[in-house]
Structures are given as C-alpha cells and as structure tokens.
Amino acid sequence: MGGVHDMGGSPGGPIDRGQHEVEDWERLADAINAALGGKGLQTTDQHRRAIESLEEYRNLSYYERWVAATEKLLVEKRVLTSDEIDERAASIRRRWDGL
C-alpha cells in the first residue's frame, strides 16, 4: 500500500476550480524552500518525504504542508530546534495581535 499521498486512481468528488490569492507567507514558504534547496540544505525528495510523512497531511493546506515539512527537515538536520521555532512564532503572533 502506498502512503497518504498516493491517491492516483482513488474515487473523488468534483474538482474545485477556484483559485485563492497566494498570500505573502505562502510565497515565503515557497521561497525559503527553494533557497534551502539552492544551498544544498535540502532536496526535492527529502522535502517530499517530509510532506508525505506528515500525520496531518489531509488536514493541512498545500503551503501549510510545505512549512511543516521544511520545519521537520530543519529540525532533523539540527539547523533549528522546535523550541526556538515555537518561541519565535509565538512572539511574532503576539506582535501581530498587538499584544
């Protein structure tokens, strides 16, 4: 059996042809991913493996999966720690919330 991502040939409902406007954080997720690739810090296959092994795969949006996968790889490779990402993300959210 394939993983959660291996959905070719499965039944499915109608295709939503609507397009959401790409948000800045999504552009950034794309860019960070490509820049890390350019530096040899991750490969497409590593990124795919990280995406495909996300427990939340079906509940996350496309770029949410990308961010979660990038984070997973950076932590695995000991470039960053989960704690420092958690802490910084919390501080950014407090700033956005005007607290």
Binding site: P14, D30, A31, L80, S91, R93
Partner: protein, 201 residues
C-alpha cells in the same frame, strides 16, 4: 521589493503556519544559513514565471516547424532560445496533441509542474480530487473543465514526478491562419497547457 512581507498581520491570514514560516525565516537569517538577498531572489524567481511563457513556446511552435521540433526534442533548449531561464534539476518534456491523441498532465503524488517555465501550479492541479481522478476518469475530469475530445481520440495521461515535468503542445485552432504570434499566444490558456481544455478562437 524590500518590505514585501513586513506588513503582514494577523488579519491577513488565519493560518498558524504564517507565523511559523516567518519564525523560520528570521532564525535562518540570524544564523546566517540564508541571507535576505537569497530569500528575495527566490521570491522574485517564482514571481517572474507564469503561463505566459508556455503560451509563447506554443505560439512559436505553431508558426515555426523547426522550433516545434526543438520544443518536442529538447524543451529547455527551446525555452532558452526564447529568452527564458529553464534551468531546473528536473526534466522538462513537452507532449504534442494530434488529431488522434490528446494529452493530459497530472501529478498524482503531489504537485510536480514545470515551475521553472510556468510558475506555480493552479490550486485545482494540487487538489486531492484532480490528483485522484485524472488517471481514473480523465474524460469526466475534462468535461468539468468544459471540454471533451471526440470518442475516436485516445487520451494519454502523463503522471509527473519530481524528476520529469510535462507541458502540452495543443493543436492550433482552425481559423487562426492569419493570426500573428502574439495573437496566437493569447489563445493559449493555462488549462490548455495542462490538457484539461484546448485553445479556442
């Protein structure tokens, strides 16, 4: 381009991952893993690409047989010839529609797409529904996009991978004999480059 993402607030998005990617960016910059220009260049790279590139390749192929041959045999060389920057680790393959064969592109496993040429794929291309169904019932899928090839036409579905990215060279619509290259390019929609539809007058 500076300040492109400095003004995002909680009101812009509801995703908790927005703050996480900002946090990751800030930490990578502080640690010197990435530099600000590298991040900016990476954003500009993707913004500079769109289906307009695909439309140009198709329109040139329609009016220049030699170019069509090059496009089908070495798509990156053809793109270079039109001033594009097709460099990408993945192969770029163009498949030609004929009166007997209609091509449809999907990436069942994820979202592989010739990004170096066409930029980001549309949302529907990445949807679970398209990925699941395109290989199982391509005609039903095309009908949802308002198109279905005649019964006599064979539908060939190409499943993209991380290593090979596809684009369709559609058939030049009849009645366009007098059109110039730019006018022809305007007929080429992104949907027709993926094969869920065809260019129309």
């Amino acid at each position: 381009m500076s300040g492109h993402h400095q003004h995002e607030g909680a009101g812009r998005t509801t995703s908790p991952y927005a703050a996480r990617i900002r946090a990751i960016e800030a930490l990578l910059l502080e640690k010197g893993v990435l530099t600000e220009p590298e991040v900016q260049d990476s954003i500009s790279y993707m913004e500079a690409r769109s289906q307009a590139n695909g439309a140009k390749l198709v329109a040139r192929a329609w009016i220049d047989e030699g170019f069509e041959e090059l496009l089908l045999s070495d798509a990156k060389a053809a793109a270079l010839q039109l001033g594009m920057e097709p460099e990408h680790p993945a192969e770029f393959v163009v498949v030609k529609n004929t009166l007997g064969v209609h091509n449809l592109i999907v990436c069942t496993l994820c979202s592989c797409y010739p990004r170096a040429i066409l930029g980001r794929p549309p949302d529907w291309y990445k949807s679970f529904e398209y990925r699941s169904r395109a290989v199982r019932e391509p005609r039903a899928v095309m009908r949802e996009f308002g198109f279905e090839p005649p019964e006599s036409v064979e539908v060939v579905v190409h499943d993209s991978t991380a290593d090979v990215r596809y684009m369709v060279l559609p058939i030049r619509p009849p009645g366009t004999e007098d059109m110039g290259e730019n006018e022809l390019a305007d007929l080429v929609t992104r949907d027709s480059l993926v094969g869920v539809n065809v260019p129309r007058l």
